[in-house]
Amino acid sequence: MITVLYFARLREELGTGSERLALPRAVRDLEGLRAHLIARGGAWAEALGANKAVRAAVNQSIASGDVPISDGDEVAFFPPVTGG
């Protein structure tokens, strides 16, 4: 199982802030996980689509698409940050 978190605009568009997910065997890295979620269609395809500015973190560190995902990881998807 992995934990997937969604923040800000993504959280609203997806209607959820977090989920527990059995890691699909085909998913090796962050890009693979994003593709898996997009394949759900609807709001998922819309909010996480390649044309959207989506950032991600794996275990609370900013991560790029080739960062591997494994069981027990905490993954987060969110828009570019706007604090300060």
Binding site: R9, A57, S61, F78, V81, T82, G83, G84
Partner: protein
């Protein structure tokens, strides 16, 4: 190094005084306060809500401050970032850096702010007359953070 994420307001003068008391060698204190503006992108702003990623927020700010310590000779740094509901003129963020000399204090303080704007997981949602909207990231913020990669 102290990092605090909180809904409560903060007292700039008290925080500066506390950092200074800790070390008689301090010669320079640079600080920055970010404030909610009553206008953004041409629209009146009635207030905002700040969301963050608990855990990662503190971790990413600690990393930013650790980077500043490597690059400049500083004694200490304090970062306070508020979350929750804020209104115009409310304080959002405070960064204080102490050092022997002003050059290091200024550089580290601005560096931490620039990285906070681009790396720390905070998101602002504004209330305007046209409804609530998520604030878009600014290209100028990315450029501000990027320039530190080029500098000595």
């Amino acid at each position: 190094m102290t990092v605090r994420v909180q809904t409560e307001d903060f007292d700039v003068g008290a925080e500066i005084a506390a950092l200074r008391r800790a070390n008689p060698k301090i010669g320079a204190v640079a600080s920055f306060v970010g404030v909610v503006r009553d206008v953004n992108a041409g629209d009146a702003v009635a207030g905002m809500t700040l969301e963050h990623y608990p855990g990662m927020t503190e971790k990413s700010i600690e990393e930013i401050v650790a980077q500043a310590r490597v690059r400049w000779s500083i004694y200490d740094a304090l970062v306070i970032h508020r979350v929750g509901t804020l209104k115009p003129a409310d304080q959002i963020v405070l960064v204080i850096v102490t050092s022997s000399h002003r050059g290091d204090a200024f550089a580290a303080c601005e560096f931490i702010m620039d990285y906070l704007k681009t790396r720390a997981p905070f998101w602002k949602k504004e209330k305007t007359s046209a409804g609530a909207r998520w604030v878009d990231a600014r290209v100028t913020d990315d450029l501000a953070a990027e320039r530190w990669r080029l500098k000595g």
